[in-house]
Symmetry: C2
Subunit: 254 residues, 2 copies
């Protein structure tokens, strides 16, 4: 079993941030500074072109650590953040930019490239969870959530479908083509985000992925706006979702 190797540590506003590697993959673990007892864990997956410490990640981590006292961990996805890009990465990114410049649909490229990254990232996430559960402040008994939109959904859906330790998940903003078959095997509570005016993802594709989950409890949140205009209150909603399902009372200002 791979172990975490901590490489750096800092703390800001009551939140401890520890950089680590696990099997050579860089990640970050955010925790309450004052955490004495064991606390639930949320794994997060970042979006395409971003990285483990992108503000979308650190902002969500801050909410989960502050409001819930949870631990939060994120890996750099393959080809992202502090990890090298392969020739395959470069080709796919060039294809994506070319499609964008030509006004052609990005979906087919994103779907195939993210599916390729997920093949590598899914086992890395199983190994991450193995390693995190060796830490005394996390352990093996507590509940674990997963939160990832966009590419974080492309990696997260096959990961969660194969990972019985995850008991609640927030997904969204991805296509059904490579993911629906995995989603059909997922039965845990799900919150799923879409943008009603997404310029990349057609409504029927987004709704089809939500439809595919076998979860008896699943909630779809759709907001007016384009792909990148997901409202901030959806992050608060996700935090409340995890608080409800991972077992901690939370108070979030409206």
């Amino acid at each position: 079993m791979k172990s975490l190797h901590f490489t750096a540590q800092s703390s800001v506003d009551g939140m401890l941030a520890r950089d680590f590697t696990v099997g050579g993959v860089p990640g970050v673990l955010w925790s309450p500074v004052s955490a004495a007892d064991r606390a639930p864990l949320v794994l997060m997956g970042h979006g395409g072109g971003n990285h483990k410490k992108h503000p979308a990640m650190s902002g969500r981590a801050e909410r989960l650590v502050d409001a819930c006292g949870f631990h939060v961990a994120v890996l750099d996805a393959p080809g992202h953040g502090d990890r090298p890009r392969t020739e395959h990465d470069e080709r796919e990114i060039a294809a994506l930019f070319a499609a964008r410049a030509a006004g052609e649909p990005e979906g087919p490229i994103v779907v195939r490239y993210n599916a390729h990254l997920a093949e590598q990232a899914v086992p890395e996430h199983h190994a991450l969870l193995d390693a995190l559960q060796q830490l005394p402040e996390i352990g093996t008994a507590g509940p674990v959530g997963y939160w990832g939109l966009n590419m974080g959904t492309a990696i997260g859906v096959p990961f969660v479908a194969a990972e019985p330790r995850i008991t609640a998940a927030v997904f969204g903003q991805h296509w059904p083509h490579a993911l629906a078959e995995h989603a059909k095997r997922i039965t845990i509570p799900i919150e799923f985000d879409l943008q009603w005016d997404d310029e990349h993802l057609a409504r029927h594709d987004g709704l089809a992925l939500f439809d595919a989950f076998a979860s008896p409890e699943k909630s779809l949140h759709v907001n007016a706006g384009k792909h990148k205009e997901l409202p901030r209150f959806e992050a608060d909603s996700a935090v409340r979702f995890f608080a409800r399902h991972l077992g901690t009372v939370v108070e979030v200002r409206a």
Copy 2:
């Protein structure tokens, strides 16, 4: 202008309930017992076959009064609660029960019957708001919300489309046929509830009504489950929505 005539008063757990009539229509006004200053107001509309004090109404009122310090008012819809049924009411209700017994779609009957009730109920709601704003604890300056699902949406959408004093609304679970044209004139923030496995309302119909609202901020919440299985956490979500838009900080337990 019609005035409120208070007819009875009780208080339970810090919430004052005052029965009233306005232009002969019976209603109830729930308020914080300790309300000294003016506070925002939420008008609610009850579902078909229910009445102003149905637990779905009093439960939501309790959340709004307790968590936000708001006033909450509900009228009995025409033919509902303490109001007499007309021959037309009796015929439509018989038609609805017959369709249900025969396993035929209820939608066409509900759509036409609710549209008929809305013709009468919409002016009653304008008069209600006029009368409530004469009360010193409400006044004309504060923000006003509207919250009604099912028949409460059938009455609420045409009401809100014609009522500039309403600044935020929660709707859901109704057909677009009689409502979409009204919804196209609504631009205030909207939260809209649907059930993914609604046995009466087809998905495309529910989504079409959500789509029709012109609001730049609109959120759709869809949950797995049948028509009557709307999760309780959607009531908490609606309360947070009103707290956000009517201007009061709320803390709701997850």
